[in-house]
């Protein structure tokens, strides 16, 4: 089949961002007045001519997406992966016609439905029943279509009893289930999905993935963005890797995923100052990560020690920040979260640059490649002050010495627990 339903050529999306110019610490009133006046005149000009209003002294062009070209055939399930800020959401927004491209063109054949969020337009005051109709209409279903599928939707969401209750009284689980159920019953020719599976409990997530698989099996075209590599691997035969707004790789999903995850730097000392894929409030910045075996050796072994040092900068003083790091397996699934507060470290008030060290003894991960994400959050675990994701890779080697005779393969498991063994019967006493 060479029936192309989406063809993108030289697609680009430009945003203008304003920067505050250099401010002298010493300002004269005259300068302030002059600058504000200049700013006001410019804003007024922009308003009158209908241009975008930009705050700041210097204007910079920023291409969220540049020179993106690809084709999607009918019935294909295409995964789109990339780190935060790589342009995935921008691409989806263009394809679902929410925003227009600044350059290039896309040709789309057929009805597109986009699911960039579950429960778009849900109104808390309206009942479950009313919201199904509302949300369905927003997603592009006709009234007759919703009516036909209504029972199916309700059964899928398992909220039969609460249909006439305003959704503001729903538990968050019920809310999400109902929202996803509506979306899952969309029947467009092309479905654009962004990370909606990251909701609900594990049981429901499985159900959603199952539904996605079903949709894909019906020969519909699906574009699927996710950070869940397992889901991508299972749903998509082909994947696009976006990096810095450009397509870095476009082929079968397995090699693309491997390439994506190999981004993490396998080095004992990693500079994170300019790492882009991070969740941050700006209150802290992790600038480097170092690790060794606790004795300045660079090789990490099973059963040995791991010493991790996080260097961070706090522009303003912070009270009792919590430090930690996550160890993920090679596909990005988190395995273990280490946390300074759980282990009894209270940092007090910190500011400026600092280093913090954690020592993990008797590492019990099977030998293989693991990924690391250091993090800093506030004392109440409410906000990630900084969280550069999957930024470091660590190779755990077969043990030598004490555990040297143990054979552990990655394929057999991930974590080793020592156990006490004895033969209960069948042996000669």
């Amino acid at each position: 089949m060479s029936d192309v339903v989406i063809r993108a050529e030289g697609l680009g999306k430009k945003y203008l961002i304003g920067h505050e110019g250099k401010r002298e610490s010493y300002v004269a009133l005259r300068d302030v007045v002059a600058r504000n006046l200049k700013g006001f005149v410019r804003s007024a000009g922009d308003v009158l001519s209908g241009r975008q209003l930009i705050v700041g002294d210097e204007v910079e062009e920023f291409w969220a997406l540049k020179d993106v070209g690809f084709e999607v055939k009918r019935g294909e399930v295409l995964g789109i992966i990339g780190r935060n800020g790589a342009g995935k959401s921008t691409l989806l927004k263009i394809l679902s016609r929410i925003t227009e491209p600044s350059a290039g063109r896309v040709e789309i054949k057929g009805r597109v439905a986009s699911l960039l969020e579950v429960g778009t337009g849900f109104h808390p005051e309206l009942t479950g029943r009313e919201n199904v109709y509302l949300n369905g209409a927003i997603l592009g279903m006709s009234r007759a279509e919703i009516k036909r599928k209504f029972d199916e939707i309700v059964a899928f969401a398992e909220v039969e009893k609460f249909l006439d209750t305003p959704v503001k009284r729903y538990s968050s689980g019920m809310y999400v289930r109902l929202a996803f159920a509506v979306a899952a019953h969309l029947e467009p020719e092309i479905l654009v999905v962004d990370e909606v599976l990251a909701v609900g409990d594990a049981e429901f997530q499985k159900k959603c993935l199952g539904k996605m698989g079903e949709v894909a099996g019906q020969g519909r075209t699906v574009l699927f963005v996710s950070h869940n590599m397992v889901a991508i691997q299972h749903l998509c035969a082909r994947a696009l890797l976006l990096k810095g707004g450009r397509i870095a790789l476009d082929e079968a999903s397995q090699p693309v995923i491997s390439h994506y995850l190999s981004d993490a730097v396998s080095s004992n000392k990693i500079d994170l100052e300019s790492w882009i894929d991070r969740i941050t409030t700006g209150e802290a910045r992790i600038i480097a990560l170092e690790y060794d075996d606790g004795r300045n050796g660079t090789s990490i072994t099973f059963g040995g020690n791991l010493r991790i040092r996080i260097r961070a900068r706090f522009p303003t003083p912070a009270r009792d920040p919590v430090f930690g790091f996550v160890i993920h397996d090679g596909t990005g699934v988190p395995l273990s979260d280490f946390c300074s507060a759980h282990d009894g470290l209270h940092a007090g008030v910190v500011s400026g640059e600092l280093s913090i060290e954690a020592r993990v003894c008797e590492l019990s991960f099977h030998p293989g490649r693991y990924l690391l994400s250091p993090w800093i959050c506030d004392s109440a675990f409410q906000r990630n002050l900084d969280f550069p994701k999957l930024c470091a890779a660590i190779e755990i080697n077969q043990a030598a010495g004490e555990h040297g005779d143990m054979r552990l393969e990655k394929a057999w498991g991930t974590v080793y627990f020592p156990a006490h063994w004895r033969l209960v019967s069948g042996a000669d006493q």
């Binding site: 394809l95 929410i98 896309v106 199952g210 698989g213 020969g219």
Partner: protein, 298 residues
């Protein structure tokens, strides 16, 4: 990992790639920078169900969880009528149109004014109020402000019923002209939709424009002939006075409702009509021009 994969069919087996049958009349959409949507108006028609459901949502939400929901719609015009009658008729001693009772004169002017002002305020805040929809789903954005105007029409219907009761009370019945009333209702909505579209589009970019609305509504109540007949305006100013589009609308309402008692000033009405048409064209034009960038700015 394995729990997830067990729920899923293996990647290649189930996907036998039975392509969905392609409808013969499949539409090709081309997305390009600065490309005006060719099928915009057809699209708008296609989304009429969304329009209906959004309008229904706004009405439902408005009357849910308000203890005296309908009473608000009744109290506001009634109290305004009483105050205006006292001030303009008793204190300022302004004349009514012919023999029409002053309260009915006031009410007939207030109906279109409230319709105009509530469409204006509902519609101009509508895009901001629906920011989550705009940044997540595509549909012709014109659906949102126009659906929000429906709420104002519901209130208007309530007020109209009140006027009918008042007229019965005074035994003052309108003549045949009342059948033209729907045309003036439409005119009131269009008069307000023009500026509303412009302001709501501006609001997306510059939030300070929303502060203009309460000002227009408050100020407009006094510069428009709501509490008095536009016949009290001196003849030489009347033409210029009609540049306010609401003047034409209110005059039309009074002409319909007060029978022959209200004089119809044709040149003024035509001026109002022209102003309405201009604002409507300008509002739609500006809205359409900026619409494509709404999601980037909201």
């Amino acid at each position: 990992m394995s729990t997830l994969s067990s729920e899923l069919s293996p990647p290649d087996a189930s996907r036998g790639r039975e392509p969905a049958p392609s409808p013969a009349s499949e539409r090709v959409i081309i997305l390009e920078s600065g490309r005006a949507e060719r099928n915009y108006w057809r699209d708008l028609w296609h989304y009429r169900e969304l329009f209906a459901i959004l309008a229904w949502r706004d009405v439902a939400v408005r009357y849910k969880q308000t203890a005296i929901g309908l009473a608000w719609a009744l109290a506001r015009p009634f109290l305004t009528m009483v105050v205006f009658t006292v001030i303009f008729s008793r204190v300022a001693k302004l004349p009514s149109d012919g023999s029409a009772p002053y309260p009915i004169l006031v009410f007939a002017g207030m109906l279109p004014w409230f319709l105009f002002s509530s469409v204006l305020s509902e519609a101009s805040n509508s895009l901001i109020g629906n920011a989550n929809l705009i940044s997540k789903v595509y549909f012709p954005r014109l659906v949102i402000p126009s659906a929000s105007a429906v709420v104002a029409l519901v209130d208007f219907a309530v007020n109209l019923a009140m006027l009918a009761l008042l007229m019965l009370w005074w035994g003052f019945l309108p003549g045949w002209r009342v059948i033209l009333l729907p045309a003036f209702v439409a005119l009131a909505v269009l008069a307000s939709l023009g500026p509303a579209l412009w302001i709501t589009a501006l609001n997306v970019k510059y939030r300070d424009f929303r502060y203009i609305i309460p000002f227009i509504v408050q100020f407009g109540l006094y510069v428009s002939p709501v509490g008095f007949s536009s016949a009290v305006v001196p003849e030489k100013w009347r033409f210029w006075y009609s540049l306010n589009p609401v003047v034409g609308v209110i005059d039309g309402f009074r002409w319909c409702l007060l029978g022959g008692q209200s004089q119809f000033y044709l040149p003024g009405f035509l001026v109002s009509l022209a102003v309405v048409a201009f604002f409507l064209w300008f509002g739609v034009h500006y809205f359409r021009a900026t619409e494509r960038a709404f999601a980037d700015m909201i």
